[in-house]
Symmetry: C2
Subunit: 340 residues, 2 copies
């Protein structure tokens, strides 16, 4: 029996079961994604990222608490958290997250938390992250918060996936973190200096402001189109939209300070995206990245079905013996060339 | 005129020019790699990795100084440094490295430094890193030190590329760094607590020791075979070798303290790899990863040549309109299926 109708009706147990099927890329999971896809496109996908030690998880917890009990008296919103855990790319273990968070947020049917390991050949986000976000979107969640730890590919991936990317910093996190920020800043829609009760907060903020000015000679959103790697065909660059100026906010997540302001900045960014037309552009860019990632995986899977195992071993043996080079090995495998 | 003979003869200008061709993946670069490949397999590839703020670059500089002027009176060795700079995955800029290092090491023909941006679809190491390491190997360098900043895919990539992986930590680098260590430890052959003159060094060392014990229920090297993602065919797992126990060393790179011990541990690890047969096994595993990465790129490039641009745009339009799902889009592009 299809899990799609109960998921669309908001049943949480069906949602949990479907997420597992989607994460494991089962035939039932893929079929459900096809059925759910027309119901997607409404949720606000918010990436929350930054270096280790910045307190991202606490901040995400506080954001969720705010969305459930808005201080301004607005209606509570349904929130999903996708916590991408890079702790072990090898064992696929997920040691962050669920248990610690559950103490805070358990029992609230308007909150759904999913931890995912950052496994898979692409590093960064697991290939299933986009699909999991789609399921939450179709299931009617207003916001999907995608949280990543680390300072590498995951940040880039999350910026490709999210409408709004929140980059979290904290005062005094070491010296060559500066070098990394330059790259991170290009993906930031909102900057947060968390742990703002610690010494060095002014310095951190000033450094961010300085790098922001350096990093954006043109409108920041131009970057978001520019970095898309094009697998197939160049899409003409759209005319620049009026620039969004990434705000720099201070928070103390452990005390909830600044969290309402952060939630409002996230809403403002959504409004900006919608009024500027960027909501549609980012949606299209995101779908394109997903399409190209699926294309790549399918091309490899189709090739794999057709190569005889002993042929592959033979090529690998000759490569290890330095009789052929890696490029010659690829030609031999793809074209069936005779080996020298 | 081919740059290969002068590179093999040790000419530095030819080496620099060839590296540029190889990094840019030009036809001349690819042809040179084929010619150079039979001369590879001798250099000791050493990855040096760890979180931001640990002082990796200083440590690498000190290691190079040691290799050039060994305190034990041994012969100086030729060392290449590949500094992979993740600062900006978008602009491809390389802001670390060369100028700062050159003050120390310039003018020594036994040292060659190359900065590479961590660009490219795989995140982490640039796809050309393996090829650059091969050029240094063929050019007769005894050691190739591959330095990466960040706590993500680059670490995984460097462990796949290197014979020996040195993971650098430092006391007091924040709280959720612990979560990341669990994954990093699985790739470490040698652990270094740098900045060991700072408070907290005992705690850092104790934490590493505890996590090492947790992380290795079996021989650590089994992981190094286990994590290889197999694109094509499973290779039978070799019998476990006697385990290498990753040592934990203390250094103060700014003063050179502990650097000789680190250099000796790196040599011991090479000796261990050779006596256990792991040198050959890792060599084969590394070549296999490179082969599969090239295969993937070639498959995509060949497909790209054959898909009409308007067909691709049409599929993307229908995807953005939610008329077809990403999986349906892939089928349409790969099989030429009619769209619904």
């Amino acid at each position: 029996m299809s899990l799609v109708p109960p998921v669309l009706a908001g049943e949480r147990l069906a949602l949990a079961r479907l997420l597992t099927k989607v994460e494991n890329n089962t035939p039932a999971g893929r079929a459900a994604l096809v059925e759910l896809f027309p119901h997607t496109g409404r949720a606000h996908l918010v990436g929350v990222t930054g270096a280790p030690g910045t307190g991202k998880s606490s901040l995400v917890n506080q954001l969720v608490r705010y969305y459930r009990h808005p201080a301004d008296g607005g209606p509570p919103r349904q929130v999903a958290i996708v916590a991408v855990d890079p702790s072990s790319p090898f064992t696929g273990g997920a040691i962050l997250g669920d248990r610690v968070r559950m103490r805070d947020l358990s029992g609230d049917p308007g909150v759904f938390i999913r931890s995912m390991a950052a496994r898979g050949s692409l590093g960064g986000l697991a290939p299933a992250t986009a699909a999991v976000a789609q399921v939450f979107d179709a299931a009617g969640f207003d916001l999907v918060l995608i949280e990543t730890v680390g300072a590498g590919q995951a940040e880039v991936d999350v910026a490709r996936l999210a409408h709004t990317t929140v980059v979290v910093e904290a005062p005094g996190l070491g010296d060559d973190i500066q070098a990394i920020k330059a790259g991170i800043l290009e993906i930031a829609d909102i900057l947060v200096v968390n742990k703002a009760d610690r010494p060095g907060v002014e310095n951190a903020e000033r450094a961010l402001r300085g790098m922001l000015q350096l990093a954006s000679p043109g409108p920041p959103l131009a970057h978001h189109h520019g970095w898309l790697e094009t697998l197939a065909v160049e899409v003409p660059r759209e005319a620049p939209t009026p620039a969004w100026e990434p705000p720099i906010l201070r928070t103390v997540a452990t005390e909830g300070a600044g969290v309402a302001e952060l939630a409002k900045a996230i809403d403002r960014h959504r409004a900006y995206l919608e009024s500027s037309g960027d909501w549609q552009r980012r949606d299209r860019a995101r779908l394109r990245v997903e399409l190209e990632s699926l294309l790549r995986a399918s091309l490899v899977a189709r090739w794999r079905e057709n190569v005889p195992a002993d042929r592959y071993q033979d090529v690998l043996d000759r490569l290890a013996a330095r009789q052929i080079s890696p490029h010659q090995a690829v030609e031999a495998l793809l074209d069936g060339d005779q080996l020298p």
